[in-house]
Amino acid sequence: MARNVTTSRKSINTIAAGALGFLMFFPVLWIVILSFKTEGNAIKAPLEILLNTGWTTESYGAVQARSNYFKHFSNSLIISLGSTFLGMLIAIPAAWSMAFVPAKRTKNVLMWMLSTKMLPPVGVLIPIYLIFRDLGILDTRTGLVIVLMLINLPIIVWMLYTYFREIPGEILEAARMDGASLREEVIHVLVPMAIPGMASTVLLNVILAWNEAFWTLNLTAAKAAPLTAFIASYSSPEGLFYAKLSAASVMAIAPILIMGWFSQKQLVRGLTFGAVK
């Protein structure tokens, strides 16, 4: 199995892949660096910034003073977790029945669900806005949870479906022979086997919901505005703003980045949308 590889070959691989990985990561690293500089220093030449400038946390202070970060943060958290869990609740039974009781039309239903994701959101913004106004859920977290749940539901169903299908049907068959009811079958047999896949699904959809920037921006004003709206207020400069923009960006992406790194294994699996084993 193991091929014999010379050390020099391995070093070359490491250097090449490391360089590429670093290049991909560099923009993120760079805003972290700039966020700890003063505005005047943040626009200097890159080498100058790295070698000759001091460090400061003043930009973080300025950003927090101007926009209430923790409010936006908790909105983001509630909206992304809430929509994901609501989505899971609805998707698990659907995916289960598609995977284990496939009908002739199952695949068509699945494909149709995915195709709803192709509807351009701008095309239906005004209708949704009017409906939300009439329901009184404009600028509420409830409204956003519902919308994000709906736009991510197809992805959730699809991912769960692919994970569930990996579970061998014989095991369920055996459980059924033993007289297990449908409910017992799901709780005692299916769920334990499906937990890794479900965790990946949850992680990926939390990320997708966290980063969603069209509905979250257009259906909120102040109360329910998540971090995407927080960033939008820094999108045009007032004076020198690289350091503040960097600090705000870091604050917006750090939670998800850290979460992603800590759950790398599930996430990598989730990132493949369950489609590749």
């Binding site: 351009p120 701008v122 998800i256």
Partner: protein, 290 residues
Amino acid sequence: MATKASRSAARLMISPAVVLLLGWMLVPLSLTIYFSFLRYNLITPGANPFAGWDNYYWFLTDPSFKAAMANTLLLVGGVLLITVVGGILFALLLDQPMWGQGIIRIMAIAPFFVMPTVSGLVWKNMFMNPVNGIFGHIAQGLGLQPLDFFSQIPLLSIILIVSWQWLPFATLILLTALQSLDQEQLEASEMDGAGSFSRFLFIMLPHMARAITVVILIQTIFLLSIFAEILVTTNGGPGVSTTNLTYLIYVSSLLQFDVGMGSAGGVIAIILANIVAIFLMRMIGKNLDA
């Protein structure tokens, strides 16, 4: 295997998801279709009389429409090309034996976590700005004229930004596929004297086919409605050179506030998206069981 009882139970279990998505699709869609036949402008309130096919006429004859179609195709196609080819190469490299693969992988997936608005703003200001951006500084350091990305190569700049966001995704899927490749098969072919290129072409590439279709399907879904990156960098310009169909509908319905025409555009976009969807589903449908 499935009994009648479990079939009806299955139908019951699937129905909430189906009903919700059906509602999510049909209610706004029917309102959009309804609006598309009205003369309905947000900033000129009053009666919204029936307008017949006028809105469709105005949208389809909009000089920006053709450009937006072309830009949409270029944007989706360009990003797919870069991420699939780049993803294959990157995956092949990462599949080689090396030290610290975990750390390299962690670094490489970082762009996927960055929200589109942030990545648009960061690339626009900190990298592509010709005066204060890194590329500008590098060009100046080399004594070159800094490239003004968003006025000289606007669409390509957007393609690059979006590709940066999606390359990790393509790489990871393709890498996972590569890693599941039977090593013995590879070794056998090596013994048969197959060069590394023909090994790639005849063994690895066919093995990755399914993964590649998945990449194309999922990315196309997201790429068709690229919006935030355009909004924070170029606002669709200069001229209409970075206006895609989504952005054109945004301009009609939310910058000109012509909801009637915007809705007509929405209906057209939905029809086009469905054509693409059917095409893609055919393609992946074949691959899904393989």
